[in-house]
């Protein structure tokens, strides 16, 4: 039912009656609560929200949300979510996925959903490990990483999720640590508001099988020095003392210190998330120091549904077929008496 007055929700309205069964201390709890807090800020009705997941720890997510949801099969959530959104474009559709679900078994769907730019939101829980099957290497595990299926060290080079996503044509990509709920909440709201497929990568710590894998990036005492939190229109500046920044030196990003070698804030790059050309965004997602977080790319483009809708309207306006009978009895028919 349509209501005229906007409903005021709190995070409790989005909390289901199911007991959350992730391991104690898992960052998944942070993401869950951030989502439950973000939804009231999105101005969307609870019955219009759908969470779709595949298989993996992260994919239990829909059970904990008091919205519509489907916990589906490994890797296929983008396909299923696409069907939900195309069937009813009014819905706010979320894909909750992990590094294995999205980039190993579901790699094909992952790249194609980004290419199409359907207005879906994808939250990628990247913990660089397989958790639910108890500790094998994933497509984002590092070379040399020792896991249950690589006891002598992983020999498969990893994907950088942002690099893969931008290569596949992603219009919106954000990356955020798994320990900063307020930032996650804000980015989720922006992902919702973005028209088109938005991908949010959360650097999510797995306390059991890959504990501390992001410590040197996300820990409170290092994050300001090791991360650059990008904001559209703002200079690329980072560091506890806000004295470091990024400049372009030939074809590479270079870290500089303000005040050294005559560098001032004016010399730093200014972040343009809305730029169509993803070259600089690609350089940012690949950067190992500092690690780029925040909304790295947010390029407004026509969505798949908008294209389809425009075509449908055009075909409808020009068609002589209003009902199927018009079609069935059209063209070459003949009568037997």
């Amino acid at each position: 039912m349509e209501t005229t007055t906007e409903q005021k929700y709190t995070f409790k309205d989005f909390t289901s009656d199911q007991e959350v069964r992730w391991c104690p201390g898992c960052d998944d709890y942070v993401i869950l609560r951030s989502m439950q807090k973000a939804l009231p800020d999105m101005g969307v009705k609870r019955e219009d929200v759908v969470f779709i997941s595949g298989i993996g720890c992260s994919s239990r997510f829909p059970y904990y949300m008091n919205t519509y949801g489907m916990h589906t099969i490994h890797g296929r959530a983008p396909g299923i979510a696409s069907g939900v959104k195309l069937a009813n474009p009014k819905l706010s559709v979320w894909v909750m996925t992990g590094d294995g679900d999205s980039m190993a078994i579901g790699g094909n769907h992952f790249i194609h959903v980004l290419r199409r730019n359907i207005d879906l939101n994808i939250v990628l829980f990247n913990n660089e490990i397989y958790g639910l099957t108890k500790g094998q290497f994933s497509p984002t595990s590092l070379v040399g990483q020792k896991t249950k299926s690589s006891p002598y060290g992983n020999t498969q080079p990893p994907f950088i999720p942002g690099e893969l996503a931008l290569g596949a044509g992603a219009r919106f990509f954000a990356r955020i640590g798994g320990n900063v709920p307020k930032d996650i909440t804000q980015i989720l709201v922006e992902a919702h508001q973005f028209k088109g497929t938005s991908l949010v990568e959360v650097l999510q710590n797995c306390v059991i099988f890959n504990d501390g894998c992001f410590n040197n990036i996300t820990n409170k005492d290092v994050k300001e020095d090791k991360q650059i939190y990008l904001e559209h229109g703002m200079p690329m500046i980072f560091g506890k003392n806000r004295d470091k920044g990024l400049v372009l030196n030939k074809l590479k990003l270079e870290v500089v210190t303000i005040g050294e070698n005559g560098i001032t804030q004016e010399d730093l790059l200014v972040h343009d998330a809305k730029e169509k050309d993803p070259t600089l965004h690609q350089m940012l997602v690949r950067l190992e120091y500092p690690v780029a977080t925040g909304i790295i790319r947010s390029f407004d483009d026509i969505t798949f549904e908008e294209r389809e809708d425009a075509l449908t309207k055009q075909v409808k306006a020009n068609s002589k077929f209003k009902k199927t009978d018009d079609l069935f009895f059209s063209g070459e028919t003949y009568t037997v008496k």
Partner: protein, 619 residues
Amino acid sequence: MISDKVKLQPEVVEAVVIRFVGDSGDGMQLTGTQFSDTSAMFGNDIATFPNYPSEIRAPQGSLYGVSGFQVHIGSVEVSTPGDNLDLLVAMNPAGLKTNLHALKPGHTIIVDTNSFSKKNLEKALYETNPLEDNSLENYRVIQVDMTSLTKEALKDVDGLDNKSITRSKNMFALGMVYWMYGRSRDYTIDFFNKKFKSKPNLIEANTKVLNAGYFFAETLELIPNSYTISPAKMRPGTYRIIMGNTATAWGFLAAAEKSGLELFLGSYPITPATDILHELVKHKHFGVKAFQAEDEIAGIASAIGASFAGDLAITTTSGPGLALKGEALGLAMIMELPLVVVNVQRGGPSTGLPTKTEQSDLLQAMYGRNGESPVIVIAASTPANCFEYAYEAAKLTLEHMTPVILLTDGYIANGSAPWKIKSVDDLGEIHPRISKNASENWHPYDRDEKTLARNWAIPGTEGLEHRIGGLEKDSITGNVSQAPKNHEKMTKIRAEKIKRVQNYIPEIKTEFAETGDLLVIGWGGTYGSLHSAVKQISEEEGYKNIGFAHFNYINPLPKNTGELLTKFKKIIVCELNNGQFAKILKINYSGFEFLQFNKIQGLPFGNNELIEEFKKLVD
């Protein structure tokens, strides 16, 4: 030139079979379609059978590159494309070599002599030219320099390259056959005018060549060996010629309109199912959402998503694609969502024989998923009834809340036949089980007492927010439950739900004898072949002890199946596989001996082989 070693004694018969063969680029499908459509307009009953290679343009002149189109036209009901040919039109030596065996002795071959070059003869593995070595003396051979005559006819048409000129020689052959069978050229000329609207020189060229062939035959006074003149006695009504795949697509259009839902197709191209996608993408005016996905899995996945969100969702594929969809189909099954999977069967296993027909996916449809996962399985049996079984598949899935697999096959999907057009007003009601209002005791797995179908709560409906998934769920709330007894209960409910569909489908009926010595059983796309064989043996050869039962409902089987089996001394199950339906019958009805007649050649049954087999069993 006409060889006159065979004396022509034209006779009027009830039905004739004509086959057009040539290179896969020779336009044989178009030629055949034009002839069959024109004959249908004339009032004949028709059945057609395209037989083409899997290569798009196989090397010219090769034996495996031969493309053929067979049409059976009758002044009586025809239910198959026919076995033995009354007329063979061969555009090259390879076509002659691979198709001559099907021509009735004494009957006519039309050949394009220009194509019987040394090179083409070698490619067709002829050591000597069959037009010169007397090997065709038992046939009436009409040798026509078709390529030269086509060039001559087009010498005054501007703007044609050599390729366009030679490519239109198929219209010369068509013109000849039109004259021989007294058919009008109007329908085809009208077709040129529409197809080449923006290329007037092609309209002119094709019309000229068609006319040239027509007048050529007139000048030679070419008379066919056998011809049929009078229109068939068909039930009054408005008809159109329809291909099985189009009929399938239209059945879903009708079901969407009738049920008040929007139609969603998630699909990935695969032979021979792709024409359903081609058809449905055209119909945006009805709000059809046809989504070409990145692979077979995304095809079914998107359909499952659309179903959850309240559309009438379907996915279309062929054997290998069904294998890829298996896991997702199991998901739809455990989530108890409506979904139709169309499998247009082709020769398997693996890539198999992509353009040939077979019925070998039956067991895959029945059992090709992990766990206990029964679904409804039904099969269409003629090109035209693909419409009603697509409609029925949609109705069953929406009313029983379980996936339905609709089996057709390459033979009926590509074949065409007259369809007595059904208005949507005359189709049965469809009642989707949509929950509209929240009530306090509502649960996603509340069931209808009679059908056991659960409720369908669609996102956007306030108060019915719920989660479903592939994990086993509690029998009432739908929440995840791994409780041992609950799992057993749910497994049995899902099986019982399929079984109860028996109460909503028609009983199986026999045709011809109702009791007797032999019951011929078939299912799916073989209806035409089996029906015409049993008809011939019963009506023309006086066997009154043979009954025929053809199954469209496979899972569940019709209620009275067991009873039917008791009425005959012998039972033979005929299928284009190695005995898959026979296996299903054996599992369900012990105590009967199920004889088998199986053909696994990528081809439909022939009339003669069936009749011979049936006679052996009753004589």
